[in-house]
């Protein structure tokens, strides 16, 4: 279509080459843009790993690079989950680490000895360039238009919904997984279109790679069977469907079972049963089709249809039976909470406590996808107008992903690819229509049924301008210019928006906090690393650190000390133990900490500089998670005032004031202010005149802005007193009369 524009450069053999060259240049530029727009944080701050989860991935990658692949595969990590340890090799998705390890080795082979940290930081931008290319391929399969693929590529390259998870330094599973997701879909579409076993096998291989990289592979496992199932229901069964799907399923399932973390899950859990069911159904349908070709009897056909239906229902019944009898595990909690949106909040507070697991608000869609979210429904509509096998896929993907993105914020990430594809389809349709439409030749009106227009036209005198040019519509240069001009303006605005959002919202490493001084210069608050490096340099190599699970990975990564709990929340009871220790009185917490050999307790406190993500604000989740295990000892109600308020000032409840977390947060805080003036800038309230006292802990370190406070757990008292009386004795307010009065005594037991 575009070939009709312009000179001989765009025609014939030369034209094909020119277009190929242009396409190549555009794709390279898109990849460059995708990489470049993710570098804000590296340029502004430094090349470090952001957030929490990436610190574990980084640590695991370092382990892989230092110790080799085999020991990484069998890595038992005794520096996390302190008394228990973690079988890391069997509980992680190794795709990310192995990829960056391979890149590291490759670069060393090319004599570029790059630090592994830089590879980890830059992996996500590099993969986003590949994602842009993959979405180009995927969209080119959907549409004949020469521009659709390129538009999808640039959308995918700079859409903030994807950038938010793939800026430089966010070394998370999603960094590589989205590329694999889009590329697997491309291979799948390719194999459905051609019915080739080779493309099916490639789909399975990349699916296996995807399984090794991200837990979101379940999305693919359910989307592809759904696609096939819908096609079957539409009566679009073709032998191509059989070859591509069965190849994908048999090879892909085996590939996914090679990952130790996945293991037997593909045949044991409900999440994967859809794929198995469709596999069985497809065998039946193929068999029936085969018999139908040989037998032209009408009755036999209906008989066979009934046969398929009965077998399908019977298999479904067996599946339900197996699920209820426990052979097939039911939905996992995280997956189940997508359907029953109130489930997590009631039953698994640890899932609900993560901010990414909240429902998405409307502005988030506009913020993350801007212009694309308007074009998205139009693109899906385009798919309906020209419904082939691959368009059905886009429609299903769009519906499912929209639902999931509405339920959970982080699943915006899986929505973004299909939004880019659909928007590119819509936009390319518009561009193709307006850029290259030619004015129909006038005689087009004359031939055919000429009677009616002729009589109508003959009534009107020829002097009217409208009758001289009877063809009204989009053919004039003006309307073409207006339309393409508007679209160009929108696209430019989209680029501006994406850059602005990336720069302002998604490019801040949570490890260093940036704030503006009064004169506009940047002030960096670096308390996290200050405290972690203090731990690294001033404590024993094996000192155990207790903190809330959010900071587990960072402590392991930056401070290199063993922790009790971390962001891999596999053992809820252990987390609840820490929650109980944090939210109980010192007398209760101290034995817990002794039993777990805790040496230091680390908390985050934002009261001085107004850092709202601190532990007092997370405190209620600690209480709730602990209450789930010990409902008799911890009660959420006790932490509120009688009027049901969550306060920290002198109205706070006694349980709150006596909890270890409260005491640790506000210990010595009074000393920063004139007497009675201590205020908490996050909660915006005054603190009680007298600060809390700690008897079983001593302050070991407090960072510059008081964000991180580290306490050392005291040893047992030398004289075998409890710490409270020892403190009282040292303060000198020993009761005078105790020596004279005889208290109630108990018999000494030897």
């Amino acid at each position: 279509m575009a070939a009709s524009v312009g000179s001989s450069f765009f025609k014939g053999e030369t034209g094909r080459n020119t277009r190929g060259l242009l396409r190549l240049i555009i794709l390279v530029l898109i990849a460059t843009t995708a990489v470049a727009s993710r570098l804000f944080s590296v340029i502004r701050f430094e090349s470090i790993i952001h957030e929490f989860d990436p610190w574990f991935n980084f640590r695991a990658t370092k382990y892989l690079v230092q110790n080799g692949f085999t020991s990484f595969w069998d890595w038992f990590d005794d520096r996390t989950w302190h008394p228990l340890g973690r079988v890391t090799g069997g509980t992680l998705y190794p795709g990310l680490m192995v990829t960056s390890g391979a890149i590291w080795h490759f670069l060393r082979f090319l004599t570029f000895p790059v630090d592994i940290r830089n590879i980890c930081v830059m992996l996500a931008p590099a993969c986003s360039g590949l994602t842009a290319f993959a979405s180009y391929l995927l969209t080119s399969e959907m549409s004949d238009s020469p521009s659709a693929g390129l538009l999808a590529a640039i959308f995918m390259g700079i859409a903030p919904g994807y950038i938010s998870r793939s800026v430089a330094g966010s070394y998370d599973n999603e960094a590589i997984a989205i590329f694999l997701l889009v590329f697997t879909f491309y291979l799948w579409i390719k194999s459905v279109k051609q019915g080739s076993v080779m493309w099916g096998a490639f789909t399975a291989l990349f699916y296996g790679y995807m399984v090794s990289a991200w837990g979101g592979y379940v999305f693919i496992t359910n989307l592809l069977p759904l696609h096939v199932f819908v096609l079957l229901c539409m009566g679009r069964y073709s032998p191509r469907l059989y070859t591509s799907y069965t190849t994908w399923y048999s090879l892909g399932t085996l590939a996914s079972m090679q990952i130790p973390f996945v293991g037997f899950l593909p045949i044991r859990t409900s999440d994967h049963m859809a794929a198995l069911g469709v596999f069985g159904l497809l065998q039946l349908v193929a068999f029936v089709e085969f018999v139908r070709q040989t037998l032209p009897s009408k009755q036999f056909q209906t008989l066979l249809r009934a046969f398929v239906l009965v077998v399908f229902l019977a298999a479904f019944g067996v599946l339900v039976l197996l699920t209820f009898s426990g052979v097939v595990a039911p939905w996992g909690g995280r997956f189940y909470s997508l359907w029953d949106t109130g489930y997590a909040k009631i039953h698994i507070p640890i899932i609900a406590s993560v901010s990414e697991h909240q429902p998405t608000a409307w502005p988030a869609f506009f913020f993350d996808l801007n212009l694309l979210i308007w074009l998205f429904p139009a693109g899906v509509y385009m798919c309906f107008r020209n419904l082939k096998d691959e368009q059905v896929f886009v429609v299903i993907y769009a519906v499912l992903a929209s639902y999931f993105a509405g339920v959970m914020v982080r699943l915006m990430l899986t929505l973004t690819p299909v939004v880019c594809v659909a928007a590119a389809l819509a936009l390319s349709q518009i561009l193709d229509t307006f850029l290259v439409t030619k004015t129909p030749v006038a005689p087009a009106q004359a031939n055919g049924n000429t009677d009616a227009p002729k009589t109508a036209a003959s009534l009107i005198p020829d002097t009217l301008r409208s009758t001289q040019k009877p063809l009204v519509g989009i053919y004039s240069t003006f309307s073409k210019f207006a339309m393409t001009g508007t679209i160009t303006a929108y696209l430019l605005l989209f680029v501006l928006h994406c850059t602005w959002v990336t720069s302002n919202a998604y490019s801040s490493p949570s490890v260093v906090l940036a704030s503006k001084m009064a004169d506009g210069s940047q002030h960096i608050i670096d308390d996290y690393r200050e405290a972690y490096y203090w731990l690294r340099q001033n404590t024993e190599q094996n000192a155990k650190i207790m903190s809330w699970w959010d900071y587990g990975y960072q402590i392991g990564g930056m401070a290199d000390r063993p922790t009790l709990v971390d962001n891999n929340t596999w053992n809820n009871t252990h987390i609840a133990t820490v929650g109980k220790a944090m939210s109980s009185r010192e007398e209760v917490s101290y034995p817990i900490m002794r039993q777990h050999e805790v040496d230091y307790v680390l908390i985050v406190f934002g009261g001085l500089i107004g850092y709202s993500g601190d532990d007092i604000n997370k405190f209620l989740w600690m209480v709730r998670i602990a209450e789930g295990i010990w409902p008799d000892e911890i009660k959420e109600r006790d932490y509120f005032t009688p009027r049901g308020e969550y306060r920290i000032d002198d109205q706070a409840s006694d349980t709150m004031k006596n909890s270890l977390m409260y005491k640790m947060s506000y210990y010595n805080y009074n000393s920063l202010f004139p007497a009675g003036q201590a205020t908490d800038r996050v909660r915006g309230s005054k603190l009680p005149a007298e600060g809390p006292e700690l008897s079983t802990l001593e302050e070991a370190f407090t960072s510059e802005n008081w964000i991180i406070r580290i306490y050392k757990v005291k040893d047992l008292d030398n004289l075998n007193r409890d710490h409270q009386s020892a403190m009282a004795f040292e303060k000198g307010n020993k009761r005078k009369k105790t020596s004279k009065r005889k208290g109630p005594r108990v018999l000494r037991v030897d």
Partner: protein, 117 residues
Amino acid sequence: TTVRNSSDAQEIALAVWDRYVQDTPQRVKLIDVFMTFLIFVGALQFLYCVIGGNYPFNAFLSGFSATVGQFVLTASLRIQTNPQNKADFGSISHERAFADYVFGSLILHFFCVNFIN
């Protein structure tokens, strides 16, 4: 065509079998024998699993899914080389279909051997 209106199931089946023996080329029959063999091996393994228990579950799985996977790959080859499906597989020649089959089988066997430990 003689059995068009017959309701006797045995007769229908017999007619189908006759037609199959008559009309199927030798090569396709070979494929079918192999597929029957795979079904037989798979059923045998499953029977053994039911009787003897599934203790090394990965071994059972890899053996069983090797037969299932090989079965569907062979079925795909049979479908792709069937002249009746020429319209669906315009871009795939018979040689290409066979090369694809070898490629898929190699991957399948690599995974099975790896999984059986």
